[in-house]
Symmetry: C2
Subunit: 727 residues, 2 copies
C-alpha cells in the first residue's frame, strides 16, 4: 500500500491527460491486450472493501516493478493492461462473490430453508401466535448467522438487520425452551420460562435486541418491537424490552471501546452512532417544505411499488425454489453474477471527477472506506459510482448521507445507482440467503433523495445529505410502513435531532400515500407465505355474521372421565389441538361444559398410563404422578407425538380422568355474538381456542370451538362467498 502510494506522484503527470476526458467505454477496453500491472490492480482491490475482505490475496505476485512500465509506450500499454485487468479482476471479484453466495445458499437450502429471507415476517407471525415450522430452531439460528455473513460478504444488495432480528428471536427462543436437548445445551433454571407468554415475551425482547445491535439504536429497538414485531403489548413488556436493549447498548459500547484500536475489522468503526452527521440548527422555508412533501409523496409511491414488485418476484421465485435445493442454489448464483456484473461493470462507465479542494477527507480514499474511491481514475480523481458500488453498504450509506457534498455525485451516477439498487434489492430478496430489507431500502432511498434534491435544486436550499436522509425515510415509510420506530432508528443512526420534524413529516406522507396502494412489505410476505396472521381489526363483513356461523367441522368432545380408546381415536382422526370436556350425568345433573383439554397435555397424560377400569375420579393419584413441569411447553418439534404412545388393546377399554388437565376457565362466547366482537376478543387476549356456547339452554352445552383459522377471511369467504362482494 505504501509503495503504491509513493509511486502515485510519478505516475500523475503521465496518464492524467488520458483519464480526465471522462467516460471510457467498454468497447475501447475490449481492444487492449493481456499484460497486467499488478500494482494498479492491487490499488483497485485495496480501495474496494468487498474485494479487500475476500479477495486481497488473489494474486501472489507483488514484486513486479512499476517504474519499468512507465516509458514512451505507456499509452499502448495502458489499454493492453486495462483489458486483462478488467477480466481478471472481474473473475476474481465475481468468483469470490459466487463462492460465498453458493456457500450461503447451500447451508440455507440444505440445513435450514426457514432461514432464507429477512425473518422479520416470521418473527412477527410467531408473536401473533403462528408457530411456523422450525422457524426458531437452533439449525435456523446457525444458518441465519453464517448465511448472513456469507451473504453480506458476497456483495449482495441485502442487509444484515432483518437476519439479526431473527437471530435475536432464535436465541431468545432457545433460552425460552431451556436450551437445546439435541445439542446438549440445557439449563435447568430456564424451565421457568417454559410457557407461551414468557416465551413470547423473550422473543419480543430478542427481536428488540436484534434491531438494537444492528443499528446500534437501543430505543429504536424497543420501538421496532412495539410497532412492527409484537401483536400483544403489555406495559411489563415495554420495560423488559427496554432492559434488554439497555444491556445491548452497554455491551456494544464496551466492545466498541475495546475495538477502538482498530483490530476488530470494520466493527470498531463508526462508534455508537453509525452515520454521525454534523447536526446544526437548520431553518427551512415553506418552499423547502413543499420539496419535502413532493419527496414524501414520490417516496410513498416508490415504496409501495417496491412492495408490489417484490410480491410478484417472490411468487415467481417460489416456483423455482420449490423444485429443490439445487435450483435454489442456481438461482442464488445467477443473482450473484448479476450483482457482480452491475457493481463491477457499471463504475467503468462512470466519469472520473477531480477531487474537490479544501476538504478534510483524503481524496482519493486510501483504505477500506471513504467517499472517494479511486477505482480506475488517475490520481487526484475519484470515481463516484465506484464509491457507492464498491464499498460496504454502511459506507455507501454514510457517503450518501454526508452533508456539504452537493457536487460529489453526478446526477447520472445517482440515477444509475438508484435504479440498479432498487432492482437488485427486488431480485435479491427472494433467493435462498438470509437477507434483510432495511439496507437496500435505505440505499435506494438515499440515492433517490439526492436525485430529488438535484431536480428540485431551484426550489430548496436544504443540504443534499439531508435530502438523502429524508429519501431513505420516505422509502422506509413507503415500504415498511413503520413510523415512530423508523424515526427513532434514523435519529439514532444519524444523531441529527434538528431534522426530526422533517423526518416525521416525510414518514407521515409516504406511509399515507403508500397505504392507499397496498400493505406493508412484512404483512405482504406474511400473507404470501400463507401464515394465518390475525389482524388487529376485524374485517367489516364480520359484523354481519355471528360466531355460530363460522364454527366448522364436526365437534369432538370428551367426557370428564373418558375411555382411552375414544381419546386415541379422536387424536388420530382429527388434527385439533383443543377438545372441550363435557361433564355428563351422573357426574352432574345435566350435561355441562367442564373446560378444555389440549392435545399436548392429553398425550402426556396418556403416556403416564394412569388408567382405571371404571369411571372414577383419580385426581389425587394423577396429581401425585405428574410434577408441575411435566406439562410445561416443550420446545418446538420436541413434544410427544401420537406415534410415541404404545397403548395395548386392554388399556383402550379403560378410563382416564381428564379433570386434572382440564382448563376449567376457558374463554367463552355465546353463539349469537357478532363475529367481529369474537375476533376482537380472540385477538386481544391472544387466544388459541374460543369456546362457543349455545344461547338456548336446551341444547348441548357447547356449539363448537373457534380457532385462528375460523377468523381467516379465506375460511369465512369460502363459507359465505356472497360476502366477498361486500368486502
Amino acid at each position: 500500500m505504501d509503495v503504491q502510494h509513493n509511486h502515485k506522484n510519478q505516475q500523475e503527470g503521465d496518464i492524467e491527460s488520458e483519464w480526465t476526458d471522462g467516460m471510457v467505454t467498454m468497447m475501447e477496453k475490449q481492444e487492449s491486450g493481456l499484460k497486467e500491472p499488478l500494482l494498479l490492480r492491487r490499488r483497485t482491490l485495496n480501495t474496494t472493501s468487498q474485494i479487500a475482505i475476500v479477495g486481497s490475496n488473489v494474486c501472489p505476485i507483488e514484486s513486479l516493478d512499476y517504474e519499468e512500465l512507465i516509458d514512451g509506450s505507456h499509452f499502448v500499454w495502458f489499454f493492453n493492461v486495462k483489458k486483462c485487468r478488467f477480466y481478471e479482476a472481474f473473475i476474481a471479484y465475481a468468483g469470490c462473490n459466487i463462492v460465498l453466495a453458493t456457500a450461503a445458499a447451500a447451508i440455507c437450502a440444505y440445513i435450514a430453508p426457514a432461514a432464507a429471507g429477512s425473518g422479520i415476517p416470521e418473527v412477527k407471525a410467531y408473536l401473533n401466535g403462528v408457530d411456523a415450522h422450525s422457524i426458531l430452531a437452533p439449525s435456523t439460528l446457525f444458518v441465519k448467522i453464517f448465511g448472513s455473513i456469507f451473504g453480506v460478504s458476497a456483495g449482495f444488495v441485502l442487509g444484515k438487520e432483518g437476519p439479526m432480528v431473527h437471530t435475536g428471536a432464535c436465541i431468545a427462543s432457545i433460552l425460552g425452551q431451556g436450551g437445546s436437548r439435541k445439542y446438549h445445551l440445557t439449563w435447568t433454571w430456564l424451565r421457568y420460562f417454559k410457557n407461551d407468554r414468557d416465551r413470547r415475551d423473550l422473543i419480543t425482547c430478542g427481536a428488540a435486541a436484534g434491531v438494537a445491535a444492528a443499528f446500534r439504536a437501543p430505543v429504536g429497538g424497543v420501538l421496532f418491537a412495539l410497532e412492527e414485531a409484537a401483536s400483544w403489548w403489555r406495559s411489563a413488556l415495554l420495560w423488559r424490552t427496554f432492559f434488554t436493549t439497555a444491556i445491548v447498548a452497554v455491551v456494544l459500547k464496551a466492545f466498541i471501546g475495546f475495538c477502538r484500536s482498530g483490530n476488530c475489522g470494520l466493527f470498531g468503526k463508526g462508534g455508537l452512532i453509525m452515520f454521525d452527521l454534523s447536526s446544526t440548527p437548520t431553518t427551512y422555508s415553506s418552499l423547502d417544505l413543499i420539496a419535502v412533501v413532493v419527496l414524501g409523496v414520490m417516496g410513498g409511491i416508490f415504496g409501495s411499488l417496491f412492495n408490489f414488485l417484490l410480491d410478484k418476484i417472490l411468487r415467481t421465485y417460489s416456483i423455482i425454489n420449490e423444485r429443490g435445493a439445487p435450483f435454489k442454489i442456481m438461482l442464488t448464483m445467477a443473482v450473484s453474477l448479476l450483482t457482480s456484473c452491475c457493481s463491477y461493470g457499471l463504475p467503468w462507465l462512470a466519469r472520473c471527477t477531480p477531487c474537490p479542494t479544501g476538504i478534510k477527507e483524503e481524496c482519493p480514499t486510501i483504505g477500506r472506506s471513504g467517499n472517494f474511491k479511486n477505482f480506475q481514475c488517475p490520481p487526484g480523481h475519484y470515481n463516484d459510482l465506484a464509491s457507492l458500488f464498491l464499498n460496504t453498504n454502511d459506507d455507501a450509506i454514510r457517503n450518501l448521507f454526508s452533508g456539504g457534498t452537493e457536487g460529489e455525485f453526478h446526477i447520472a451516477t445517482l440515477f444509475v445507482f438508484f435504479v440498479v439498487v432498487y432492482c437488485l434489492a427486488l431480485v435479491t430478496y427472494g433467493v435462498a440467503v438470509p437477507s434483510g430489507l432495511f439496507i437496500p431500502v435505505i440505499l435506494s432511498g438515499a440515492s433517490y433523495g439526492r436525485l430529488v434534491r438535484r431536480f428540485l435544486g431551484s426550489v430548496t436550499d436544504l443540504d443534499a445529505g439531508l435530502f438523502a436522509l429524508l429519501g431513505a425515510a420516505s422509502f422506509l415509510g413507503g415500504s415498511m410502513r413503520m413510523t415512530v420506530s423508523v424515526c427513532v432508528i434514523l435519529l439514532e443512526l444519524t444523531n441529527d435531532l434538528y431534522m426530526l420534524p422533517l423526518v416525521m413529516l416525510v414518514l407521515l406522507i409516504s406511509k399515507t400515500v403508500a397505504d392507499s396502494f397496498n400493505k406493508g412489505v412484512y404483512d405482504q410476505i406474511v400473507t404470501m407465505k400463507g401464515l394465518p396472521y390475525m389482524e388487529a381489526h376485524a374485517e367489516p363483513y364480520m359484523r354481519n355474521l355471528v360466531a355460530g356461523d363460522v364454527v366448522s367441522g364436526p365437534l369432538v368432545t370428551f367426557s370428564g372421565i373418558e375411555k382411552v380408546g375414544n381419546i386415541m381415536h379422536a387424536l388420530k382422526l382429527t388434527g385439533h389441538n383443543g377438545f372441550p370436556v363435557v361433564d355428563e350425568p351422573p357426574l352432574t345433573e345435566a350435561p355441562e361444559l367442564c373446560g378444555l383439554v389440549l392435545r399436548t397435555h392429553l398425550l402426556i397424560l396418556l403416556k403416564g398410563k394412569h388408567f382405571s377400569k371404571d369411571r372414577v375420579r383419580t385426581r389425587e393419584q394423577i396429581m401425585k404422578r405428574f410434577g408441575a413441569f411435566d406439562f410445561a411447553k416443550a420446545g418446538s418439534g420436541k413434544g410427544l407425538k401420537l406415534e410415541d404412545l404404545e397403548i395395548g388393546e386392554e388399556e383402550m377399554e379403560m378410563y382416564v380422568d381428564l379433570h386434572p388437565i382440564t382448563n376449567t376457565s376457558p374463554y367463552t362466547v355465546v353463539e349469537t355474538i357478532s363475529l367481529a366482537k369474537a375476533a376482537v376478543l380472540f385477538r386481544e387476549l391472544g387466544l388459541r381456542h374460543l369456546c362457543v356456547v349455545p344461547k338456548a339452554p336446551w341444547r348441548p352445552p357447547i356449539v363448537g370451538i373457534l380457532t385462528r383459522h375460523d377468523f381467516m377471511p379465506e375460511h369465512i369467504l369460502s363459507l359465505y362467498p356472497h360476502l366477498s362482494s361486500h368486502k
Copy 2:
C-alpha cells in the same frame, strides 16, 4: 440597561474590595439605612427574570444619577442602601408572587377545582375508563391554561408540563364532543367522533401533543402517551399520536422560526432542542459505571421517598383544602410566601464567586438568562445560588446541565438548592394551582447529580453537566417510573445521543430500586383520589375466586318488551348504567339473554315516548323515529337526566320495545371462570359491563353483571376479608 452597563467600569474599582470577601450576613444588612440606589436595584431586577418579568416597573424613578453617590462616604452608604433594597425588593418580589399565586388559586378554587395539580393522573384514569367529574370540561381547560401561567409566573417550584398534557387532553375532549354547546362553539362534522373509542383516541393524542409541546419532544410525546397515559393501545393509535406530534413539531418549528427575532419573550429562545448540550463522543471506564450505578440507586431511593412524602403531604393538605375555597387560597399564599423567602433570601447567604476566565459566555450575565447572575456581587463576580433560584426553571436546568462547568457551583450551593427544591416541590404540588411535577423533579435531580459528582470526584472523570443529566434521569425514573419515554424526552431535550446507554442504565436502576418501595407518583395520586383504576394485571388472589363470587347486588333485568313504569322504577332505584334484557316466553321458547341496554340509551328512548298499549315489537317505528346520532355519546355532564323525563301515569302502564336499543352481542363469561381471567378480559377489551351467565342450563339466563368496581381490590376484600392476608 445600557446606562447601567456603562457605569459598571467606573464602579468596579471602588466597591470590589468590600465584596470579594464573601459572605455578607443578614445581621450586617440590618444595620444599614434607607437610602436607595435605583440603578443598582435595576440591575438586580434585570438579571433575575422572575422579577424582571413581573416587577420591572415597581419604581418609576429612573433619572437619579449614579455618579453623585460615588463619593468618599460610599462605604456607609453602601450598607444603608442594602437594607432598604433588601426589604423593598423582597416586598416587591414576594408581593408580585403572592398576587399571582392568589389569582391562580382563586380561579382554580372558584371556577374549576379539578384543574389543580398536574392533571396527568386524571388523564391517565380517563384513558383507563374513569370519567372523573368535569375533569375535561371547558372551564377546567380555561383554568388550567391561565392558572398554569399565573402559577409559573409566581415563581413556584412547579412545572408547566403536566398542565400542558391536561390542556391537550381537554382540547381533544372538547373537539371529541363536537365543541361546546354551553359556550356556543359547535361544529357539526365533529359529531363523527362522538363515541367512546374515538374520544379516547383523541384524548390520547391530546396528551401526546401536550408533552410534545411542553418539551419540544415529538417522539417523547408519543412514547409518553404510550407508556404512561394510555391503558389500551392499538397500532392505529401509535400512528395517530405520531401524526399529532409531527404536526406539533412542525407548528412549533414554524413559531420558533417566527420568534427568532426575539419579540416573543422567552419563547423564541432555545430552539427546538431546549437544553442543547455539546454532544461529543465520550468514553467511560468501569469506575465511571460504578459511579453511575451509585447515582441510580440513590436516585431511586430519593425518588420513592419523594413519592412517599408527597402522598403524606397531599393527604394532610386535603384536610385543609376540603374546608373551602378561602382555605385553598390561604394555603397557596402561605406556600408562595415560603417559596419567595427561600428563593430571595437564600442567595444572600451565598458566597460571591469570581467569574471564570476564558469562557465565551458573558459574566456576570446581562439580560434575562445565563449561568452567571450578578445578584448582589461586585462586577466580575457572580452569585451561583442566585443563578439557580432567581432564574426561570428552564434556565436553571440549562445551567445545571451545561458541560465543562465543574467549579461553577459551590458544593454548599448545590446542597442548599437540592434540599430547598426537593422540599418546595413536595409542599407546592398539593396547592390549588395547576402544577406539573416534571420540572421540580428534573431540577432537584440535576442538582443531586452535580452533588454526587462532587462526592465521587475521585472515582469518575465524567462531566458534571452529564452527571446533572443522569441525576435528573434517576429522579424521573425513581419518581415517575417511566423508562423509554423519559429516555427519549431527555434525549430530545439535550441532543446528547452519546450518553444514551448511561441514561438507560440509570433509568433501569432507579426504577428497579424505587419499585421495591412504592408505586409511581401518578399511580399513587390516582389511588389517593379514589379513582377506580383497573390495573393491567389481575391480583394473585383473584385466581382463587370465580366470576360468580364477586357479582354483587340484586340483579335488575328487563324484558325485551318492558312496561315503562318498571323501567322508570329501576332507573330511579338503582344507579346502574347497564341492564340485561331477557327475552321471555312467548317471544322465545325459554327465557334467554337478549343483550344489554345502557341507561343513557333508555333515557333517550323514553324521552322519545314511542310506547304501545300491548307487548308488541315496534322496531321499525322506533328506527324511523331516531337517527343514527341521537344515541351518540353526549358531552360529559351533557346527557339526559332522569329528572328531564315527564311521563304520565297512563304512559307508565304502557310498553316499550327495548330490542332496537339492545346490544345483542355483549361479552359474557361463565360464572365459573376464574376472576383473574375475567379481569384480564375486562381490562384488555376496555369493557364497562361484563355479563355473567350461569353454567347450569336450568338457571335464569343471567347471573349478574360485572362492572369496574367489582374488580377493585377494596370490593373483593370487603367480600372476602380472609384474602387480604394472602395479598
